[in-house]
């Protein structure tokens, strides 16, 4: 059962085959509660696949995925997860507001509470002026931010963000990071995938994966020490080549 001392998510010896490849191979990883974990790895290493397993929209071929104390997929857990996909899954023919209302209702929000949350998350991603705009008229970065806003709508305990800051300018990115850290301080567990090294350095812990295998995990400082690198970027390159300390 779920308990505050247990990890928010626990992957045990996961193997996931897609096509005839093992995209994740015998991977075990724990996501600590109340912390911001960064998932790093080269393109095609299996980050998105891993996040989808945690989000309950994909199923491992072998191994067990436990999220918030329940074996996945489990409907009641989905209510407690906020998921932001790597590719924006938005209804382009509707307005931002329509999209927010729709997803909000899927998570059981309604009435004034829904309106409050919509206003709050849109302010957070600085889109409050574009609430009634059709999503088709949004720029790439605006769509990213709207996706992030949707994942935050129902105040989830666990946030799964797949490359949330791609295409967002540095100023906005900084303010979004401020908000994410604030959410974490409020007790939200966050898992995000990223390619940006200075973002990785801000994470509480980092997991490196390469070709579907976990090559290293730990706090940024631990990883730098272990690989003898002076920056996370160098550690990333070293770990990415499979040089584990």
């Amino acid at each position: 059962m779920d308990h505050p001392t247990l990890p928010a998510a626990d992957l045990r010896q996961i193997t996931r085959r897609l096509g005839n490849r093992e995209v994740l191979r015998n991977l075990s990883l724990q996501i600590p509660r109340g912390r911001l974990t960064g998932l790093l790895g080269p393109s095609g290493s299996g980050k998105t696949t891993l996040v989808k397993l945690l989000a309950g929209i994909d199923k491992a071929d072998e191994g067990e995925v436990t999220v918030l104390g329940r074996s996945m997929p489990a409907l009641p857990v989905l209510q407690r997860i906020g998921y932001m996909a790597q590719s924006d899954a938005l209804y382009a023919d509707l307005t931002a507001k329509d999209n927010l209302v729709f997803f909000g209702k899927l998570y059981g929000l309604r009435g004034s509470r829904l309106q409050e949350r919509i206003a709050a998350v849109m302010a957070l991603v600085a889109l409050d002026d574009h609430l009634h705009k059709s999503v088709a008229a949004y720029s790439g970065g605006m769509k990213r931010r709207l996706s992030l806003a949707i994942s935050l709508l129902h105040e989830p305990e666990l946030l799964l963000l797949d490359e949330p800051t791609v295409g967002i300018d540095p100023v906005l990115r900084q303010s979004i990071w401020r908000e994410l850290l604030q959410l974490r301080d409020g007790g939200t567990t966050i898992l995000m995938t990223t390619h940006v090294m200075d973002e990785a350095e801000k994470c509480d812990s980092i997991a490196f994966i390469r070709s579907g295998e976990l090559t290293a995990a730990g706090s940024p400082r631990e990883l730098m020490e272990r690989s003898g690198a002076s920056s996370i970027e160098q550690a990333f390159i070293a770990m990415g080549e499979g040089v584990t300390a």
């Binding site: 309950g56 023919d93 729709f102």
Partner: protein, 348 residues
């Protein structure tokens, strides 16, 4: 609640997409109108030969036929009349020489045959034509073809069913496909919505528009096009609605097996066209009995059968309910298979 949210979202998307709305509502009407022009336009005034026998009442008959727009030619005996019919000089021959009146039809053009027969029946026994039943005493011979050759009135109901079915199938298929290819279905399933709620939401959202479409087609084909209609308008709408529901569930189900819009189009020759052939547009009596049974798995066959019953024979719920039950069964089956197919996306 989640189902309602989904249905509401689909309705909003529809309302913002005017072209698709137009396709759903106007395209069936347009195609039906064209079909009406092609097959059902004012039938050419037939020319009718009359074998006259002195001292009988053929004067009134000939006058009546003339008034109704037919061209009348008189013949002295049956033989010369028949020769004229064979040569195609006349479309029909009415022989009043025998004990009972005898009608011979040239028969190659169903529309002309029907028009001739209608006029003759009216002239000989008023009221018989209105009820559509053939006067028992009247002997009708076909030089070519037979009475079973269809005409627009006969296959109009099939077309009404077909076009409603076709456009709903296409739209439902494409729209569910898009949900999958744009990733929104996956995003949707990351929310705590049950698989059946997704299917039910689609049924609800689309259902509203299919209901409107069914009503529009029913009204247009009977009131504007003036298709032959004996039964109840409400029953016609009910059949159309059930047919559209079947198309909706079948379209969304098959979209699971399509990777893009083009592959949805590929389902048309596989799924729609065979149904057209087997649904009653063409006479299948000459077909191998086993092959003919194929139609038993085709929703359109039942829809067309019910539509023909309502429109041509004025049948009520009592006699068409088996068709309706089968259509409902199809919808239910496809919806359930849909719920199962969503397992591919999320296992619970």
């Amino acid at each position: 609640m989640r189902t309602r949210a989904l249905a509401y979202r689909i309705i909003r998307q529809f309302l913002r997409d005017k072209r698709t709305l137009a396709l759903l509502f106007l395209a069936p009407l347009l195609v039906l109108t064209l079909m009406n022009f092609v097959f059902g336009g004012a039938s050419p005034a037939p020319s009718i030969g009359l074998v006259t026998v002195p001292g009988t009442s053929q004067e009134t008959v000939s006058q009546q036929l003339r008034q109704a727009g037919a061209t009348i030619r008189g013949y002295g005996d049956s033989k010369s009349g028949e020769t004229a019919l064979e040569h195609g000089d006349i479309d029909a021959l009415l022989d009043l020489g025998g004990a009972a009146p005898r009608i011979a039809l040239e028969g190659t053009d169903p529309a002309v045959s029907k028009a001739s027969l209608g006029l003759l029946q009216q002239a000989l026994s008023p009221g018989a034509a209105a009820s559509g039943s053939m006067d028992g005493k009247l002997q009708v011979d076909y030089l070519h073809g037979s009475a079973s050759l269809s005409s627009f009135d006969a296959f109009g109901p099939v077309l009404v069913g077909l076009f409603g079915f076709f456009f709903v199938f296409l739209l439902a298929g494409v729209s569910f496909l898009r949900e999958r290819t744009t990733g929104t279905l996956e995003r949707l399933l990351a929310a705590p919505i049950r698989r059946w709620e997704v299917v039910a939401g689609y049924l609800g959202g689309f259902g509203l528009f299919t209901l409107l479409q069914a009503a529009l087609i029913a009204w247009y084909s009977t009131s504007v096009l003036g298709l032959y209609m004996e039964g109840s308008f409400w029953l016609l709408m009910l059949v159309n609605l059930l047919l559209a529901l079947t198309a909706l569930t079948l379209g969304t189900l098959l979209s699971t097996y399509a990777g893009n819009e083009f592959q949805i189009i590929q389902f048309i020759p596989l799924v729609i066209v065979p149904q057209v052939f087997f649904s009653g547009l063409f006479n299948l009596d000459a077909m191998n009995e086993w092959l003919r049974h194929i139609r038993l798995v085709m929703p359109l066959y039942y829809g067309a059968d019910a539509l023909k019953g309502v429109m041509l024979r004025g049948e009520g719920l009592a006699s068409i309910w088996p068709d309706l039950a089968v259509l409902f069964g199809f919808s239910l089956l496809f919806a359930l298979l849909n719920v199962l197919a969503l397992k591919k996306q999320r296992s619970i």
